[in-house]
């Protein structure tokens, strides 16, 4: 439940933030959610045993799904024309790259995921550090 809350918040808020802000807003949003939902604040608010900090994975998964899905949708309506060319471009290869489009979708998803994961983790750890 705690995990799911973080996850959904980061995904939804991230989606709206990215419409207006540059890519690093991913980390920002994840950071904010991580901070606000950190163990200490939860303890103060709900008085229960704090949940294990799945912050990193919540942020990671949220952004992986957000960026991955957006990339996939773009790729699909384009019949993978562009992603294959980008894959070839980035590897500077002479021939089109096998599974190039999947690689591009995966790369986008991973970059977003890493930013989201570490952002969420940082926010959570800040929350922890502030408690004392």
């Amino acid at each position: 439940m705690k995990f799911f809350l973080r996850f959904i918040l980061i995904l939804v808020l991230g989606f709206f933030a990215l419409k207006f802000l540059p890519f690093w807003s991913v980390a920002l949003v994840a950071f904010a959610v991580g901070l606000l939902l950190s163990k200490e604040r939860k303890r103060r608010m709900f008085g229960k045993n704090p949940a294990p900090p799945f912050s990193f994975w919540a942020g990671f998964l949220a952004m992986f799904i957000l960026w991955g899905t957006m990339a996939f949708l773009s790729d699909h309506q384009n019949a993978s024309l562009l992603s294959n060319k980008i894959a070839q471009l980035l590897t500077q290869s002479d021939q089109p790259v096998a599974y190039g489009s999947y690689a591009m979708i995966l790369t986008s998803a991973l970059i977003g995921a890493l930013l989201g994961g570490f952002g969420a983790l940082s926010g959570n750890l800040l929350g922890e550090a502030l408690k004392g």
């Binding site: 980390a27 024309l81 562009l82 890493l114 570490f118």
Partner: protein, 818 residues
């Protein structure tokens, strides 16, 4: 402890963000931005168009404009006045081709280093410096000023600029064309100067070939007699644009084939050849001398339809996005369809309801170099006509991507900018350049008038002030006229003026007199029923003015032969454009086969010879014979010239193919046949031909295996390269035949950049294709969708609409801008 954990994580996060933000190198993108699906390259992954109809608000228009975009993504613009039409042309062209427009203009203006850095070995910086020293920007400024003086062109150019800028102002980062994201920069506002620069970019491609430097070196190296043998000005067989006129049997004493009284030739200055001058470097990046084009028109009497037919296929370097952009422009004053140049308004090659026209390059020399004598090391004064003139020193700034700045001091004289000097090209003797493209002129007006022309009179009026780059304008009208006119501004030269570097201190070597425009070679409705041009000599030696340049010797003969056909149909016109027959092979192969020592050939070689003997000189995509012929010829050609030429340390041009063939035919033991690297043997033509054949066989066997593996199109490997030279965005190994000296002039990187056939009549019908696509977006299906059809020889029927609701329109999108 918790704080430590936090700081570590925070540090990692920050590091990641920094890594994703910073560009990988100054000229490339930042990872985070690039892969972000909301903003990065995914935004350029466009979907295939849906049929739709919508209204869009576009401030800047005086009245609504209807834009119909057909299934090939060709925009058809219907405006209510010329200004809105030009505005809209700027807007839609920018929508499809913004990056290309800007990139070409940066190249013309010597600003490529801003986008891509210095380049390997400073190659890009050198090219930029050359562009500025050649006077590209100076010429563009002069042209722009001139265009602003004329009401029509001023309005059109300003409106076009506003249209482009209206599009640019709509772009957020996510909307930017992919190349901006990749190279990490943003578009600049467009300007009328940039349109002028774009036109100079074309002038540079077509009219900046200059052999002055290599001719001077050649003369100094070989001496006059040999020089004349290596570089004759006329060809062994010509078929000029204006057909020779036979002298009538009872002609007047002063009969001339020409219907005008020529201006007197300027006096030949004494001692005009520079005495044993050797120049260290040549111009960089000279346009391939095989860049040429075909065009022709057939009169109603010869045409299967009873009305004139016109064909035009310009040959240029093949790139993506294509140099051309199809468009239809309609307003009360005009209804024209054809190809436009992204960055300039109007249609450059095309047709309207009454006429059709096309262009080929004239190939005449309009760029000369002058030795400048400075008074001293300061270069503040130079000698002219016995007096010291003041020079102007201007410092040009080059911004190199990454922050560096480079300064180049360029000296200007009244002749032109000093292009080569001790700072550029390692020249001890500085050379100033005089180029026709420097002079104020208004080329845009010519095309504006052609777009609206209705008849021959309008056509001649449109051409009257056209200066540079000189072109052969072919013309056909509904009413039955066909014509051709070699139009440009040309110097009235004394013989050989411009072949060699000239003396900038002597007034008798300047450009003082010009050939009157009406004396340019032209013809209307000739008896033979057709007009044509393929970059050959404009006229025979009876033409009363001297000119020099680089001229074709084969494609012209072929088309003039084909057009002798009694009746020519539209299908014939298309077939002629794709004709793969090589008159060059026809001229030289029999001689080569004759000299072959058949006793000394292996069985395999005999088989190949058999194939060559059966071959009908067709460079078809799937044939083996062209492969062995071409390799054999290339080795032979090289073996004649390489030994002598590479021994010389200054730049020289090897003699033309026509000259080489002529020398092969005329002599067995021409001194250049001897291979200098075998001092004990004196080779003859026969030796070279046999050796070349053997070598060709060895090489081909090694590279491809036996003859059954030889395929002309695969061997040739025609490719179309993206302007930013990215393999992933380019196309390779296009299955198409043809080659140099052939009507289907498709070589490895050059070829017919547009093929158009127009059938005039009560209702004009036209067919066209170019090797590319309307969209400049690499991620679009319309980026290169025409290439396969172009290679296969297919033409699209061009959709020439009369109004936005035209029933034949297979509409994809209809947008009303107001």
């Amino acid at each position: 402890m918790r704080w430590v954990k936090f700081f570590i994580s925070f540090l990692i996060t920050t590091a990641l963000i920094w890594l994703c933000i910073s560009p990988i190198s100054p000229a490339t993108f930042s990872i985070g931005r690039f892969f972000n699906p909301f903003e990065g390259f995914w935004q350029n992954a466009s979907s295939t168009q849906e049929v739709s109809k919508e209204t869009v608000e576009l401030p800047g228009l005086q009245a609504p404009v209807e834009v119909v975009i057909d299934e090939r993504q060709v925009p058809h613009l219907f405006a209510q006045n010329i200004e809105d039409l030009s505005f809209m042309q700027g807007y839609v062209t920018a929508k499809d081709r913004l990056w290309q427009m800007e990139f070409q203009v940066f190249a013309a203006g010597g600003r490529l280093t801003e986008l891509v850095g210095r380049g390997p070995n400073d190659a890009v910086l050198k090219l930029d410096r050359q562009s500025r020293r050649q006077g590209m920007v100076m010429g563009a400024k002069n042209a722009q000023k001139e265009a602003m003086k004329n009401d029509s062109t001023r309005k059109v150019l300003q409106a076009y600029t506003k249209g482009v800028n209206a599009y640019i102002s709509e772009l957020s980062y996510g909307d930017l064309p992919l190349e901006y994201k990749l190279l990490n920069y943003r578009p600049e506002p467009w300007s009328t100067l940039k349109t002028a620069l774009l036109l100079k970019y074309m002038a540079n491609t077509l009219a900046a070939r200059a052999s002055d430097i290599t001719n001077t070196n050649g003369l100094s190296t070989w001496g006059r007699e040999t020089f004349n043998l290596l570089y004759p000005e006329r060809l062994y067989e010509e078929s000029p644009i204006i057909p020779e006129k036979a002298r009538p049997r009872f002609a007047r004493r002063n009969w001339s084939a020409w219907d005008f009284e020529a201006e007197p030739q300027p006096p030949i200055p004494p001692q005009y050849t520079p005495d044993s001058l050797l120049l260290p470097t040549n111009l960089l990046n000279q346009a391939d001398r095989n860049i040429g084009s075909n065009n022709w028109a057939v009169s109603g009497s010869k045409s299967a339809t009873g009305r004139p037919l016109l064909a035009s296929d310009p040959h240029l370097g093949l790139n993506l996005p294509s140099i051309w952009y199809e468009i239809q422009l309609n307003a009360p004053e005009v209804n024209v369809y054809g190809v436009s140049l992204p960055g300039a308004p109007g249609v450059m090659i095309g047709f309207n309801d009454s006429i059709a026209w096309g262009v080929t390059n004239a190939g005449r020399d309009v760029m000369d170099f002058y030795r400048i004598q400075f008074r001293d090391h300061s270069r503040e004064e130079y000698l002219f006509d016995g007096r010291w003139m003041k020079s102007q020193q201007k410092i040009d700034t080059f911004y190199i991507k990454g922050g560096e700045v480079f300064y180049d001091t360029i000296i200007h004289t009244h002749i032109g900018p000093v292009m080569f000097d001790r700072n550029f090209g390692e020249y001890q003797v500085p050379l100033a350049v005089r180029w026709m493209a420097h002079d104020p002129s208004n080329e845009a007006l010519t095309f504006l008038k052609l777009n609206q022309a209705n008849n021959y009179k309008d056509y001649t009026a449109a051409l009257a002030d056209y200066q540079c780059p000189a072109q052969n304008f072919v013309f056909a009208s509904n009413s039955g006229d066909i014509a051709i006119w070699q139009q440009g501004k040309f110097v009235n030269k004394w013989p050989e003026q411009g072949r060699f570097v000239l003396d900038g201190s002597r007034p008798d070597q300047m450009w003082d007199h010009y050939i009157p425009q009406t004396h340019n070679p032209h013809i209307l409705n000739p008896a033979r029923g057709f007009v044509s041009s393929a970059n050959q000599h404009p006229a025979d030696e009876s033409y009363p003015y001297y000119y020099n340049g680089s001229f074709e010797g084969y494609r012209n003969r072929r088309i003039n032969e084909l057009l002798l056909k009694d009746t020519v149909s539209v299908e014939d016109m298309k077939a002629f454009q794709q004709d793969n027959y090589s008159i060059m092979a026809q001229d030289v192969l029999p001689l080569m086969l004759n000299d072959l020592d058949s006793a000394n050939l292996s069985t395999e070689e005999q088989q190949v010879v058999g194939e060559l003997k059966r071959w009908e000189y067709l460079f078809d995509a799937d044939k083996a014979a062209p492969v062995i012929f071409q390799r054999w010829w290339d080795i032979l050609y090289k073996s004649i010239w390489e030994d002598e030429f590479k021994a010389v340390e200054v730049p020289l041009t090897w003699p033309k193919v026509t000259t080489t063939i002529s020398l092969l035919r005329d002599s067995l033991s021409f001194r250049f046949f001897d291979n200098l690297e075998t001092p004990t043997v004196k080779e003859t033509r026969v030796d070279l031909i046999n050796a070349a054949f053997k070598q060709a066989m060895r090489e081909l066997k090694k590279e491809y295996g036996g003859m059954k593996n030889w395929q002309w199109a695969k061997y040739k490997g025609t490719q179309i390269i993206h302007l930013a030279r990215q393999k992933a965005f380019s196309r390779y190994n296009i299955p198409i035949g043809g080659y140099r000296y052939i009507l289907n002039a498709t070589s490895k990187q050059h070829g017919p950049s547009w093929r158009m056939v127009v059938a005039l009549g009560d209702k004009v019908e036209a067919y066209g294709v170019y090797p590319g696509g309307q969209s400049g977006n690499v991620g679009s299906v319309n980026f290169d969708d025409f290439i396969d059809d172009w290679a296969a020889g297919n033409y699209f029927k061009l959709l020439f609409m009369q109004n936005p609701q035209d029933a034949q329109a297979q509409k994809v999108m209809s947008i009303r801008y107001e």
